[in-house]
């Protein structure tokens, strides 16, 4: 195992699309596009997510004043079966496309692959695009939307949002290093407590990276996990502590940022591919650009389950990928 070191890879631009609930959250006015209509003008939740993904890429191209033909590769994914949201979005673009799936860690996965392609000279301009939609995820992973169910207070709310990033050989935020995570689990089988399932993966990747590079938590202005929520974040701090890593104040979580730390009405916070992508593309992007954050670690966390594996009472294998970012 070794950390990836990028010679020249930068995020030069990003775009974020959010749903109605996200619009009302603390990041509401940082999104490029927000929609009151959760259907995004389409006829089904699956199409809505796809449209959202397409909007985020189009917005990115507009902001960067690029045309579709300028893009060498689109790397992206979502939570739907067969990654249809991103696949269908890519169909309407059209650009060379690689579909990815690492559950909610897909944003980090797309960024590290994009950075590798750009830094290695295989692509001039790569786009990483990730999305998730509350309604399509409820349908696929839980119950029909109109079904009256109570969710436990440790469960998380899938973010309706899409984030797109442009990776180039120059730009304002540098992708310096990355670490591809290993799939880990610590025996958690309850799909309602994703935070607890994913925290060990985040701890593993983070400790591995610090060990490999000799860095310390204090060297970063922010160490941000993808979507551990209230439960997972607290467990991560405990895991790091027991592993001898001082968990500094730098530790934060996109799932707690997207709806605010009180998580009003969303139980233990946000989750989904779109969660980490949106928060990075809005909140952290602004902080990086203003140089309020100079160096940060972005640790995307994903639970690699399906409704079937949950019903079979199998343990939830989880993954975390790490990307190191520096403002220039």
């Amino acid at each position: 195992m070794k950390a990836l070191v990028f010679d020249k890879a930068y995020i030069s631009c990003c775009a974020a699309v959010g749903g109605a609930l996200e619009k009302r959250g603390p990041l509401g006015n940082m999104f490029d596009i927000t929609a009151e209509d959760s259907y995004f003008g389409t006829g089904s939740w699956e199409q809505a997510e796809s449209e959202m993904s397409r909007l985020s890429v189009n917005m990115l191209l507009k902001k960067a004043s690029l045309a579709e033909k300028d893009i060498d590769v689109l790397l992206g994914g979502d939570l739907l079966n067969q990654c249809t949201a991103t696949g269908f979005a890519a169909n309407s673009l059209p650009v060379p496309y690689l579909g990815l799936y690492n559950a909610c860690a897909t944003a980090a996965e797309a960024l590290l692959l994009g950075a590798s392609l750009v830094s290695g000279g295989h692509a001039e301009k790569a786009v990483a695009a990730v999305s998730s939609h509350f309604c399509s995820s409820e349908r696929q992973f839980r119950f029909p939307l109109e079904y009256g169910s109570q969710r436990p207070p440790y469960s998380q709310n899938t973010v309706t949002g899409a984030g797109a990033f442009l990776l180039e050989r120059s730009g304002s935020v540098r992708v310096t290093r990355a670490l591809i995570g290993k799939v880990t689990e610590k025996g958690v089988t309850d799909a309602n407590n994703m935070g607890a399932a994913m925290a060990p993966a985040a701890a593993q990747t983070l400790t591995d990276f610090l060990e490999l590079t000799g860095e310390r938590m204090e060297n970063y202005d922010a160490v941000v996990t993808g979507d551990l929520g209230r439960e997972g974040s607290a467990l991560l701090a405990k895991l790091l502590e027991s592993g001898g890593v001082a968990s500094a104040d730098a530790l934060d979580d996109c799932g707690l940022i997207v709806y605010g730390p009180e998580c009003r009405g969303v139980n233990a916070g946000g989750s989904g591919c779109g969660c980490s992508a949106c928060v990075l593309a809005t909140y952290f992007w602004q902080k990086l650009c203003k140089k309020e954050i100079r160096r940060m670690l972005f640790v995307g966390t994903g639970a690699l389950l399906s409704p079937r594996t949950v019903m079979q009472k199998q343990v939830i294998p989880c993954i975390a990928h790490l990307v190191e970012l520096e403002s220039i």
């Binding site: 749903g19 109605a20 009151e36 959760s38 939740w45 509350f134 029909p144 939307l145 709310n157």
Partner: protein, 119 residues
């Protein structure tokens, strides 16, 4: 008085289910299956019929009442038709509720579109 008994009995049955939801990891689907089977069982034990006389809708409206309907249908059919009654009695007695649920659900599917419950 009937109304008070209906309210208290129905409420108590729901309260018991809520305790199961909160204190165990049983999913609602499993609790409902448990309730229907309990209704059949209590009917067979001869407990549910007097309970229905006492609580009225408080006993028939919760899902245990659905189990009791299945039970009483089978009982009656076995008495009149013999062994075939086992197969015909339950669904015959409960057909009104089941058919209504199907017919109306199809109607709702025509009329309504699913909504984002977060807003």
């Amino acid at each position: 008085m009937n109304y008070l008994y209906a309210f208290l009995s129905g409420g108590a049955i729901c309260l018991l289910a809520q305790i199961l939801v909160d204190k165990t990891k049983l999913t609602p689907a499993k609790i409902l299956v448990l309730y229907v089977c309990t209704g059949v069982f209590l009917g067979a034990c001869g407990v549910y019929a007097p309970f229905v006389r006492f609580a009225g809708a408080g006993a028939t409206v919760p899902l245990t009442g659905f189990g009791y309907t299945l039970f009483s249908g089978v009982k009656e059919a076995v008495e009149t038709q013999g062994l075939t009654g086992c197969l015909t009695g339950g669904l015959t007695a409960s057909s009104a509720g089941i058919s209504a649920a199907i017919i109306f659900a199809a109607l709702w599917a025509l009329l309504f579109k699913s909504r984002d419950k977060n807003i």
